[in-house]
Structures are given as C-alpha cells and as structure tokens.
C-alpha cells in the first residue's frame, strides 16, 4: 500500500495537516490565477449574456440546446465517480479507497456546483430559477412533476445534499484533528465544525453505521442522477436522443469520465501537496484497471447504439446517425472514439498503467473525449430533426467557448479552497490501513 514505507500515526497527522496549515506563495499564485481566469472567462461573458440575452450564445431555432447543456452533462458526469466510487468501495471494504476518497468526493461536490451553474447560464433569466423548485408562492406557480426537467431538479438537489453530507460526516474526526493542531480563530471554527468530537468508541460506532447508511443511499442515488439526466434527452422523440440504451450509456460514461478525473486530481495532489507517501502505485494500478473495464463497457454501448439504429432502420434515426458519423461534426466523433475507446487500451500494459505521467495524459484525453461525446449528443441530434427544413448547424459562440474554459477555472478554484479547509486525505482512514504498533514488535 505504501511505496515509501509505513508512516507512524503522528506522521499521518503531520503530513496531511501541514498541507492545510502551511501555505506557500505557489498556492496563492495558483489560486489567484484560477480565480482570475474564472472571473474573466466565465463570469464576465455571463454578465454580458445577461445584458444582451441568450442570443449571445450560438444556439438557434433548430438547435435550442448547445454547449451549456453539453457542459452541464459533462460536469454532472465528472461528479459521478467521486461519491459513487467512494460509497461502493466503502461497502465492499476496499482498503485502497481510503487515501483517495476524500478528494474524489470533493470532486463530486464541485463538479455538481459547476454543473448547476451551467443550468443557470443556459436558462437565461437566472433570477427566475427558483421557479423550478416546489416553493409555495403567491403566484400559484408549481412545478410539473411529470417533466424530466423536474426529475433533474429533484435528483441533482438530492445528490448535492447527500454528497455534501457524505463528505462532511466523513471529515468530522479530521476536523477535530485540525482543531487540536491550530490556534485562534481557526481553532474556534473547527471546534464548531467538529461538533466536539473526541473519538470515543461510541462516536466511532455511530459514525460507522451512519456512514454505511449514507453509502447505501448514495449508490442508487448516483445511478439515478445520470439516468435522469439521460431522460432529459431520451424521453423526447428527437432522432439521436430517443434510445432506451441512454440511461446505462450515460451512467457508464459518467463513471468513466469521473474515474479519469480522479486520476488527474490524484496526480495533482501527489505533485503539488507531496502526497507520494499516501497515494501510491496501488491506487494508480487499481484506477487504471477500473478505467480499462469502463472503457470496454463504454465502447460496447457505443457499438450497440450504432447497431440498434441500423437494425431499427427508421429513416430519421439513420439520417441522424449518418450525420454524426460522416457529417459536419464527424471529426469530433472520431476524435471521441480515438480518445475514449482506443487510447485507454494502452493501459493494458502494466508499464503504462504504472506511470503517473502517462496515466495523466490518458486521463485528460479520456475527459476531452467525454466532453466531446456530450457535445456530439447535443449538437448532432437537435439540428437534424425529421424534415430537411428543420436541418441546421450549431456552432458555439465565443461567449460559450469562453464560459466553457472558465468552468474549469471555477472547479479548480473551488478545489484549491477546499484543500485549505478540509484535509485532502482522510487522516483516520489512512491510519486504519497502517499496521498497529505492538509492544512485542
């Protein structure tokens, strides 16, 4: 489990807490840069769009959904592996989960927040967004619960709530460790955050049970969230959207891109927070094997989508499919196939699976492919509806491209803030993986 020998319990506290309590100029530079990029690329174009209207985006009459929604699906997808993987590995008692799950769960939370921002950008008049919640109001407005968009609101709100509680509860013992290691205002804050945790057997026992129940609730929830996102598309009659395979396709794709995201985040944690001692080869190898499996499932579902369209033979569906394979966006489609179906096969070689740099490149390529996949689903289906007079093209505007770039900066900013407030690796769970100190040793 540990590449550089087993640390002591005190080392674990010291190593992990030092990343929170000691902040160098490199951190501030990174945070400043990401905040600036978020402000310039995300918020400024958004404000511009709020003034001039959603016409600032490249969406048109044939393509009423564009990059904002494809990005929304991408970020929801990226959120999937964190909490889901953490919960599944907790229930199956996998020890390699313990060093990586906290950051993976944080990834879930911040991806969800970024995804929610895209909904706000997409709807245009963001000040009416609360109308989509079942809040009593004097206008007699109430959401229609038959709509898949309302399923989305309920699912994502529940997922955000459950993920926040899941990560918070797992962090309570570590907040107590921060409390004990700090002074002044920080100590007072963490006294509140840790609820007066002492680490008694009863507290551990209750936390263990509660955490297991959170995990039990979170697994079906995570599966439902991306299934529901897929129904935003599949429950319409648009060629290219209307597939029964969409729910498992979206869930598989979400876990796939989320797992690749975890590899990227783990690389950064090792590189910038010096966690080489805790995030080792065993984690990379396990994540690599998981990625290969997911890549094969994803490829299978893609082949199945092509086959069912060809076998069904509906002219509208075949037309939309041919447009996807050979039309305006064909280069993007084949780029997606290359990055998500072929490049991951390199991980079959142990030499590649064991190299952090190569795995970083593969994980980034997979997520570029997955971002493209979501774009293709949205951009090649809606402008290809039934009759040629409804045919058109969708090309993202500068505002949309800028907001897409800015969203990565928002995610980075949130993550950088997170690592200074919450231990990026679970202190007590890492201790569980250590051999206990024995008198006779």
């Amino acid at each position: 489990m540990f590449d550089h020998g087993q640390p002591s319990y005190a080392d674990v506290n010291k190593d992990i807490l030092s990343t929170m309590l000691e902040t160098g100029p490199r951190y501030w530079m990174l945070l400043g840069t990401s905040m600036s990029v978020a402000g310039i690329f995300f918020f400024m174009p958004w404000i511009y769009q709020l003034f001039v209207g959603v016409g600032a985006a490249g969406m048109n009459r044939n393509a009423v959904w564009g990059t904002y929604l494809s990005n929304f699906i991408f970020w929801i997808g990226l959120s999937h592996s964190g909490t889901l993987l953490s919960a599944v590995l907790h229930l199956t008692n996998s020890p390699w989960r313990k060093a990586i799950y906290r950051s993976a769960e944080a990834m879930t939370l911040f991806s969800l927040m970024t995804a929610a921002l895209f909904v706000m950008v997409h709807v245009g008049r963001v000040w009416f967004v609360h109308w989509s919640f079942p809040i009593p109001n004097q206008m007699g407005l109430w959401p229609n619960f038959r709509s898949p968009l309302m399923f989305d609101v309920m699912a994502i709100t529940t997922y955000l709530t459950a993920s926040s509680i899941f990560i918070y509860m797992g962090s309570v013992p570590d907040f107590a460790a921060v409390r004990d290691a700090s002074t002044g205002l920080r100590r007072r804050l963490y006294t509140i955050f840790s609820f007066g945790w002492r680490g008694t057997a009863r507290e551990w026992h209750t936390l263990g049970w509660a955490y297991t129940f959170f995990a039990i609730f979170v697994v079906p929830l995570a599966v439902s969230v991306h299934s529901i996102v897929s129904w935003d598309f599949a429950l319409s009659a648009v060629p290219g959207f209307h597939h029964t395979i969409f729910a498992p396709y979206f869930v598989c794709g979400a876990i796939y891109s989320g797992t690749a995201g975890i590899v990227t985040v783990m690389y950064c944690l090792r590189r910038f927070l010096n966690f080489e001692k805790y995030i080792g080869q065993v984690h990379l190898d396990s994540l690599g094997k998981l990625l290969i499996t997911l890549s094969l499932i994803w490829s299978y579902i893609n082949i199945l989508e092509l086959f069912s369209t060809w076998y069904g033979g509906t002219s509208f569906e075949v037309e939309a499919l041919m447009f996807r394979l050979t039309g305006f966006y064909a280069p993007l489609y084949w780029e997606m196939i290359l990055f998500c179906a072929f490049v991951p096969l390199l991980m079959l070689f142990k030499k590649i699976r064991w190299s952090w740099n190569k795995m970083l490149v593969i994980s980034v390529l997979i997520n570029i492919g997955m971002l493209t996949e979501r774009f293709i689903i949205v951009a090649t289906s809606q402008p290809r509806k039934f009759l040629p007079d409804a045919f058109g093209y969708y090309v993202p505007s500068f505002v949309e491209i800028s907001i897409t770039i800015g969203s990565f900066a928002i995610f980075t900013t949130l993550f950088l803030i997170f690592i200074k407030w919450v231990p990026a690796i679970s202190i007590y769970e890492v201790k569980e993986t250590l051999k206990p100190l024995r008198r006779d040793a």
């Binding site: 002591s8 008694t200 057997a201 551990w204 049970w209 529901i228």
Partner: protein, 168 residues
C-alpha cells in the same frame, strides 16, 4: 472527577478497557485516533439505532414525495392526451429521490442524536487521542474505587494517568 489513562499500544488499551469493565466500572469512555472494533465490543455496542432513523426517513420521504407529486397534480389539473391525472411512472421517480433525500437527512439526525454530538459541555479529552495515543476515561468513580481503577489502568501498561475535573 475522571481518571484518564493514556496508552501507546492498542493491545494494552483494549486490555485495560476489558479489565475495567469486568471489575464493574460501567461509566468508561474509550478514546482512540481511529475506529477500533475491539473497543466497541468491550462496551457492548451492537447494532446502532441509526438504522431506525434511516428507515424512518426513507419511509417518510417516500410518502411525502409521492404526496407532493400527486397533490400537485390534483391541485393544478393538467389533462394530457387523456392520460390519468395521477401518473404513476413519473411520480415514482420523484418518490425515489425523496426517499433517498429524507433517508440521508434522517440518518444525519440519527448520527447526532445517538452520538450525543454536538457536545454542549467539555468532557475529558486529550488531543493526543486524535494523533497516536489511546485513552481510557473512567468517570463517576467513587472515592474508594479510584485507587482500584488506577491500579487496573497502570497494570495494563498505561504511559500516564491523570485526574481531571468534569463539568456536571
């Protein structure tokens, strides 16, 4: 007053807890930097009542989720293509999500209720119990029992024994 015994080794800590328990000391707390099943067994902690909170939350969530969706349909009647006003398949999705939402919220409530957190008053604690030490705390010992508790803790191999005042 409480007696606190600090241990370096997990095995000594468990042994002290077992001996204290078998000698009739019931009001003991076992502090450790990580969850220890043996410590929970010594205290006889079996299935946690948290599971009842989870179940109750899930049931309440399911009922309220369906009631919200069906109630909305009845108040704002929206006939669509001759279909039923209360349409079961889409409402089951709302029910499913609300089941999980309330299940999670009630589990959180159960955690706080059962663990007694947030702690509103100071209790015997050593910060080293959150790093690398195991601490046995005996609370509410009578004057004649203090020496016996100390002896048990010392015999088990405690590094340090101290007495602390406890807020009543």
């Amino acid at each position: 007053m409480a007696i606190m015994g600090t241990f370096m080794y997990e095995e000594d800590f468990i042994s002290a807890a077992e001996n204290l328990k078998s000698s009739g000391f019931d009001n003991i707390s076992l502090l450790s930097p990580l969850p220890l099943e043996e410590a929970q067994e010594v205290l006889g902690l079996g299935k946690s009542p948290v599971r009842r909170f989870a179940l109750a939350g899930a049931i309440i969530g399911a009922i309220s989720g369906f009631a919200m969706a069906a109630g909305t349909a009845l108040v704002f009647i929206l006939p669509t293509g001759g279909r039923a006003i209360i349409t079961i398949p889409p409402y089951l999705i709302i029910t499913y999500e609300m089941t999980i939402l309330f299940g999670v919220l009630f589990t959180l409530l159960g955690f706080h209720f059962v663990s007694g957190l947030p702690a509103w008053r100071d209790k015997p604690y050593l910060p080293s119990a959150n790093i690398d030490r195991f601490v046995v705390v005996v609370e509410g010992a009578e004057a004649d029992q203090v020496a016996r508790a100390e002896a048990i803790i010392r015999d088990a191999g405690a590094d340090e024994i101290r007495h602390v005042e406890v807020d009543e």
